[in-house]
Amino acid sequence: MTVLTHPVARFLARRIAYSLVVLIGVLIAVFALVQLVPGDPVRIALGTRYTPEAYDALRAASGLDRPLFSQFFAYAASAFTGDLGVSFRNGDPVAEILLDRLPATVSLAVAGIVIALLIAVPAGIWSALHEGRLSDAIVRVTSQFGVSIPDFWMGILLIALFSTTLGWLPTSGYRPLFEDPGGWLRHLVLPGLTVGLVAAAILTRYVRSAVLEVADMGYVRTARSKGLPPRVVTFRHTVRNALVPILTITGIQLATILGGVIVVEVVFAWPGLGRLVFNAVAARDYPVIQGAVLLIAVLFLLINLVVDLLYAVVDPRIRLA
């Protein structure tokens, strides 16, 4: 019990309990939604070669003829032991399929968010500190452009330039980090850049407004009037205090990318979660849809937790208890 008296430990215990409740809610919601969507997985699996006999045989073999409640409880019980069932389509364990896709998805999300931050933080700060001037206008117009440009178009342009014309980078595909680190990085650059540039455009606007808000505060004026060098005022007083909203939006962006950037995955033939879910929905592969949504929910909760912990790091006034 001594462990749980530590405020951080207590915070974590509470958050994990709360996360479990959320996950059960997600489970019920996704199970219900999947059932509500019209379209019959057995009918799709048979395609144009449908016959009533084949239909009944496949339906019974997939367990879809059992009552809905019994299907749900069987699923929920095994889900908590890590068994997410098997894909309707090829009988592969869903947990394995998800674990196969996770490294590609995480690679792309991390690369995208790193690129986005490398661009958005300096651009946003610069733009805020030069509010109303030409350089501010340039940053704002560029970021508006970045928000508006469709990501598939950006991806195709990047392929045309860096792969077809210059021959520097591969057009598409994925290499696992631990099998082929060089290949991993080379295959990651273009999709990472596509995801990163779009996210950067969004983040820049948030960074700019967060910094602007802080720059209006009294203590910043005080710091400046004390005669502190502009650099110290900017970084120690302004940016540091703008970090909380920036962290929030970064967490949301990261979670969104982890949940799947389907268009980018399609353009770059990237084996991520987005395409998996898309194909699973098209085929009404219920176990894969449910498993993937659960996994994405877990990732969201994890990121939220990390972001909450980081709040306390960047702003000691925030206490976890």
Binding site: I44, W168, P170, S172, L185, V266, A269
Partner: protein, 507 residues
């Protein structure tokens, strides 16, 4: 801050160095010497008897064999069966199997495997069970002989057994271990090696293949859905072959000497069907009015940039079962006259199309425009394929558009779609004469007489507008000049058994 900038600078420098340093044009496991091809999607599963996905068959065509198989002219040739005889009453087919054939795991191929494979389709009522509708018995009198008994003369038995890899001979061990869907074992020119979910499948050459060992050490199938990306990968030398080609680039690619482009008229067809259970579409004059109002050339242009061939019947020219037919023309006045005759003035039409096949959405827009002069407002309803199938089965549509794929024998084209008892007759067409002809075609062993039955049936089907046939899409494939010994086939079967690679500049 200075330290942070230094770290960032180092990271950027590393990215640039690692990503651009090698002077050669990208790696892709080129060291393996594998033929690298891109297909437009991932197979749903690799059990040939259970899948219905074309992406699966693109891969499995190279892994499995059937008793007989179609040659380039779609005539059946020996495969796992070396020869066969038919009894004088046409009711007993005896197949002599090729000897010395092995599965990829080294176990011998025998008549028991054929019986097991066929019994599996029949007993488990798998999707292709209809191919055995005339079969009463499959037996193996000895290890090298299979006897198939049929209840009536069945002229298309060979096509049913070998027309596509859905009728593949599978390994019992592979099925019973539950591995066939993910690690299939066949007798074909290539053996399954590995799969990376969402990324690729690797096959390796089967040195013991009965048709001679393949000339490439293996084939890597990459899943590249976006055709623009697949074409870029081909042009960049990352892949050797693809059928994921953007149709709008065909004209430009035809003049490109660095690539082979094959635009082969295919056997697939796309059609419209009007729901005859709903008035006024039950009136043949109203259906004919729609047929005259549709401008096929515009639809072909819009859906395929002109690469498909407009057709008023199912079968394209060049196919042995082709029947000439050109009753309809684009004629709005004739369409209006027919509607007046019928005393019908439909104001709305619920047209069911699916995002799974974007050509149906594109065509629907042209069709909506075509029907406007008749005073018909087409309500285009776009749904995903699962919903589409449900709506079709429940008869919730006025008109729908879809394609029928992988056709070889005319029984494939007509029976399920137009016979009163056909499993896919969602438009509820029923004509006793057509039923009689389609039943007769199933048992007629005289080729000329059979041809006549189907020509007659096809003509009535089009006259009655059971289906309003639109066009035959082309099989479009592109490959590098390094790849030789490969031919595009009109049935869409992708065979790499005779393909070879010559070392080009980047290899």
């Amino acid at each position: 801050m200075r330290r942070a900038s230094a770290v960032i600078a180092v990271v950027i420098a590393m990215v640039l160095v690692v990503s651009c340093a090698p002077a050669e044009r990208v790696d892709l496991g080129r060291g393996s010497g594998n033929l690298i091809v891109a297909i437009a999607g991932e197979p749903d599963q690799l059990d040939p008897q259970k899948t219905s996905a074309y992406f699966s068959f693109e891969v499995l065509e190279n892994v499995f064999d059937t008793l007989v198989e179609p040659d380039a002219n779609l005539e059946m040739q020996p495969a796992l069966a070396a020869s066969w005889t038919v009894s004088p009453d046409q009711l007993v087919w005896t197949f002599r199997l090729r000897s010395g054939v092995q599965f990829h795991d080294g176990s011998p191929f025998t008549s028991a495997d054929v019986v097991y494979s066929y019994r599996r389709i029949i007993d488990e009522k798998l999707a292709n069970v209809g191919k055995f509708s005339a079969v009463t018995d499959v037996t193996a009198p000895d290890a090298n002989t299979v006897v198939i008994r049929v209840k009536q003369p069945t002229p298309n038995l060979l096509t049913n057994l070998g027309g596509f890899k859905g009728m593949a001979i599978v390994s019992r061990k592979n099925v019973e271990s539950g591995q066939i869907a993910t690690k299939p074992i066949g007798t074909g020119p290539f053996a399954f090696a590995s799969q990376k979910s969402g990324d690729s499948i690797v096959l390796r050459a089967n040195g013991n293949y009965w048709g001679g060992a393949p000339k490439v050490p293996g084939v890597t199938f990459q899943f590249i859905t976006e055709p623009t990306t697949a074409l870029s990968a081909l042009q960049a030398g990352e892949i050797d072959w693809t059928d994921s080609v953007p149709t709008q680039r065909i004209a430009q690619l035809q003049g490109d000497d660095s690539l082979h482009l094959a635009v082969t008229p295919g056997n697939d067809y796309w059609y419209l069907a009007l729901n005859e259970a709903r008035p006024p579409w039950n009136d043949v004059r109203v259906r004919r009015a729609v047929a005259y109002a549709i401008d096929r050339q515009s639809i072909v242009q819009a859906t395929s940039y002109g690469s498909a061939s407009a057709n008023q019947l199912a079968i394209p020219k060049g196919n042995p079962w082709y029947t000439p037919y050109d009753t309809y023309r684009y004629d709005v006045d004739e369409a209006k006259r027919l509607l007046r005759d019928a005393g019908a003035q439909p104001a709305k039409m619920d047209m069911l199309v699916t995002s799974e096949y974007p050509e149906t959405i594109t065509a629907a827009q042209v069709i909506a425009d075509n029907l406007k002069p008749l005073g018909i407002t087409v309500d285009i309803r776009t749904v995903d394929f699962a919903t589409w199938l449900d709506e079709q089965n429940n008869g919730h549509f006025d008109m729908l558009m879809l394609g029928w794929l992988g056709n070889i024998d005319p029984d494939d084209f007509y029976y399920a779609q137009h016979h009163t008892d056909g499993a896919n007759n969602a438009q509820k067409y029923s004509n006793p004469e057509v039923d009689r002809l389609l039943d007769a075609g199933r048992v007629e062993t005289n080729r000329a007489a059979r041809q006549q039955d189907y020509a007659r049936a096809a003509t009535i089907i089009a006259d009655d507008v059971s289906y309003l046939y639109l066009y035959n899409p082309s099989v479009i494939q592109a490959w590098t000049t390094n790849l030789s010994g490969y031919e595009a086939r009109r049935d869409g079967a992708i065979r790499f058994r005779t393909a070879s690679l010559t070392g080009g500049g980047d290899r």
